[in-house]
């Protein structure tokens, strides 16, 4: 009854149970971290703004993003996914969300960044509602932990407006 195999099995079972418990505690410890991220986006230029042949508005922007997301990182953080979304309201849909740029931050050292870029993904409306449209730019992030629950949050920056005329 108390053979080599039985002892090895008992040890493995107990060790893995404790490991699961440790992972759960590591995940729980993330709740004690109260992050204070900052972000700022400036739209530098509207490169072009036109109506596609199929009737949809499309705009190309140049902007720079500066953000400090270092406080999101804890010992249980694998990486952070960030994306910048343009959000606006149209008569048909109360919430339109278009992803303009995204990135993966692999470590805390890279979490304070400044980037000057044009939109990585096309800013196209479903329809022709973008002229003179006021929109928000929100920096969303998803904190991906090594074990446990994923956290997501965002910073909304409002007060952007598209021009009245195509160019």
């Amino acid at each position: 009854m108390h053979s080599f195999g039985h002892r090895a099995n008992a040890l493995l079972t107990f060790a893995l149970t404790i490991l699961a418990l440790m992972c759960a505690m590591a995940s729980f410890s993330d709740n004690f971290n109260s992050p204070s991220p900052t972000a700022d986006v400036q739209v530098l230029n509207i490169n072009w703004f036109q109506k596609q042949p199929n009737g949809n508005d499309e705009v190309s922007l140049t902007f720079n993003i500066s953000a400090d997301l270092q406080s999101l990182f804890t010992w249980n953080t694998k990486q952070v996914f960030v994306f910048l979304a343009a959000e606006y309201e149209t008569p048909k849909n109360s919430m339109n969300q278009v992803s303009l740029w995204d990135g993966i931050i692999p470590s805390k050292e890279h979490a304070k960044f400044w980037i000057h870029t044009t939109n990585k993904y096309r800013f196209t409306d479903q329809g022709s509602n973008l002229r003179g449209k006021e929109f928000n730019l929100s920096l969303h992030w998803h904190v991906m932990p090594k074990t446990g629950k994923m956290f997501a949050d965002k910073i909304v920056m409002s007060g952007f407006r598209l021009p009245e005329e195509y160019r």
């Binding site: 108390h2 080599f4 002892r7 060790a15 418990l21 440790m22 590591a26 410890s29 249980n76």
Partner: protein
């Protein structure tokens, strides 16, 4: 492995694993390193395996003392026909099975 050895192996295994887990978690948390936690715990599990799984000599220090056959012959088993309380209990137990 004798009875005392089995008890010792079992207790040693549980205490060592829990101790290593506590040390690993605190070190990892304070050093802000998940990897450190895993490395300390893995080495702890390995050490515990080496100590408690093989049948080391120190688990066999309390040998079982079997009765000599001649001693057993001198005290024969009580017969079932001799009705005393002991045999009644035995029969009732067998019923329950």
């Amino acid at each position: 492995m004798d009875w005392q050895g089995q008890k010792l192996a079992e207790q040693l295994m549980q205490i060592m694993l829990v101790a290593f887990a506590v040390v690993a978690f605190l070190t990892g948390y304070l050093m802000n390193s998940f990897q450190t936690m895993l490395l300390i715990y893995a080495s702890g599990v390995l050490l515990t395996t080496l100590i408690t799984v093989p049948n080391w000599p120190f688990f066999n220090r309390n040998h079982l003392k079997w009765l000599d056959p001649s001693e057993a012959d001198r005290h024969p088993k009580p017969q079932i026909s001799s009705t005393n309380t002991g045999s009644k209990k035995k029969s009732s137990k067998q019923h329950q099975k």
